[in-house]
Subunit: 353 residues, 2 copies
Amino acid sequence: MSNSITEVAALAGVSISTVSNVMTGKKAVSKELEKRVQAAIHQLGYTANPMASGLRSNRTNTIGVIITSFQRVFFGQVLKGIQDTVVNAGYMVCVFDSNNSLSNEKRYVKYFVNSMVDGVILLSLANGVDPEDEAYFKMLGSLGNKHKRIPVVGLERTLGSADVDAIMSDNRLAAYIVTQHLIECGHKRIAHIAGPLTMEMCQLRLLGYQQAMKDAGLETSPKWIKKGNFSPISGYIEMGELIRQGDCTAVFAGNDPMAIGAIKAIKESGQRIPEDIAVAGFDNTFPSTLVSPSLTTINVPTYQLGVIAANRLIKRINGEIVGPGQKVILKTQLIVRQSTDVKGDHTWDLNSW
Amino acid sequence: MSNSITEVAALAGVSISTVSNVMTGKKAVSKELEKRVQAAIHQLGYTANPMASGLRSNRTNTIGVIITSFQRVFFGQVLKGIQDTVVNAGYMVCVFDSNNSLSNEKRYVKYFVNSMVDGVILLSLANGVDPEDEAYFKMLGSLGNKHKRIPVVGLERTLGSADVDAIMSDNRLAAYIVTQHLIECGHKRIAHIAGPLTMEMCQLRLLGYQQAMKDAGLETSPKWIKKGNFSPISGYIEMGELIRQGDCTAVFAGNDPMAIGAIKAIKESGQRIPEDIAVAGFDNTFPSTLVSPSLTTINVPTYQLGVIAANRLIKRINGEIVGPGQKVILKTQLIVRQSTDVKGDHTWDLNSW
DNA sequence: TTGTAAGCGTTATCAG
DNA sequence: CTGATAACGCTTACAA
């Protein structure tokens, strides 16, 4: 268990640098010695101590990921995409869950820097409005120490003016399209249950909703804009509020869980979906296919999101991409189900979970 | 960004050992110096490099977790329980997803050992039958190196004869109870879609099912025992097989996703649930409340599972628990819903996701 | 091609 | 109570 390079060297009858050279493959070693070293490595089951080699080489072959909550189904696919990609390239993934707290997020970022991960993928909770957020983004854009730069890829948000790649869905357009769909279904009084507006993606979804309403010449009243927190229960609560107000005939929720909470509230109020009130969500996570009525939503290529973020990060790490941070926008797609259209799809998704 | 202890010492006008003493709090430092050092630490935003301190102290304040898949909803709650507990005690959590591969699992365990995590929580895929598995379990029971022992807590399986704590639900009893429930509903020809039988918990669930059938004097035929892999689609496929056989009136699936896959297959075949075929699952994850009909299942206290595993691990780390590994068995509970009883509950769970 | 030796940033030991 | 200094296990100049 846990042998050191010294023991391998002793067993193979060579110096530790030769063992190191064999391990890293950075320097040529004669066939003969290579064979002996490999044999010793194999016999001892040796793998290098990542802490020691990382300390010295400033490389850990680990990439750090920070998400907002392990409980959010959305991230299951994203993480899978990241892990599949990154493991393939010889990296490990270390995942932290900020538990929806910006201070946790910052703590984890710092930890990653100190731990010398080779790159970071981050779904940030910084709202970008607080003055210190800009400083934080700047810092993210120049993460590292004197020996190395640690690239960061942002998920679903641009990181201020910082030079950081961002992979995101076309939130605004998608929100526009889903709202437009609601309008085409004949609705005029359409409410929106937004996610935490500190998140850029939620702002964008709100904006898309407002734009669509405006373009259709429909009134948008503040009382139709509710603030949830992405949890199903918050959707339920905010929908209850809307029902009490009693004047909207459709709701676009900022994500699927909130939409599903809203559906529950509507059903409990004895109203029919979509006849009395239509509901749409965002993300197309599997639960949206399971509920009755099935949920109209926007498909976000979550697995791809992870794959693309990871690929980009690896290229940054290897210096294959240099220069200013870029934004990659992924195409989304409206999925019409029965919460807005009785003729919509209602097939259960059994493949993505 | 990323200052070293040397800079802090310089700024405070003290030696690096004094800074270290202040940081770790292991040795007394005079009020005066303590204040100066704290000020310097604060001013520089200094935090110790975990790799360097870990290398020296053999402590990382990190606990490693290995689960089988980020996609499995089941783990969301478990991870939350672990993280809540462990962060509270001053540890970080590093999560790996073995992607249902034992070789990945072993690789990650080794990585954890080399990285010197202070403890490991592990849902192992080893079946315990292969001769080399016993050696693996032994190793898990004595993880570490000459400097330190790394305790391991197993999730949902005993790790052979090794001295490793195991936290698990009462799988066998629960399977017995759910099968009994099916029998009480009047079913006699009851099938079982098992999870991967390499997992002990799946063996236990199968055993519980068989025992209940036997105790009720009912026939158990091998053709009624299907092997899924915990994924929804496998439940769908195996149920299709059972439908083709055409003789069972109830199915107990080894977890909720497979049960939900089974429900889909039954609905597609035009049969009614529960009148023609009743279905039960295991775990009581939130999707079981969302589907129609709602799924009868066994409630597993997933969050608690994480909390208890984490607490136990921390106590092991601190030496507050010593001696042979123990098994902690968590109580489960039958949740009757409409997939077995039309009068069953069908309230959506909006709180655990 | 191989080996020697100097660090990487800490903590631990041991004088003072 | 404080500060040199060795050591952790590895990589990497540099020397042989």
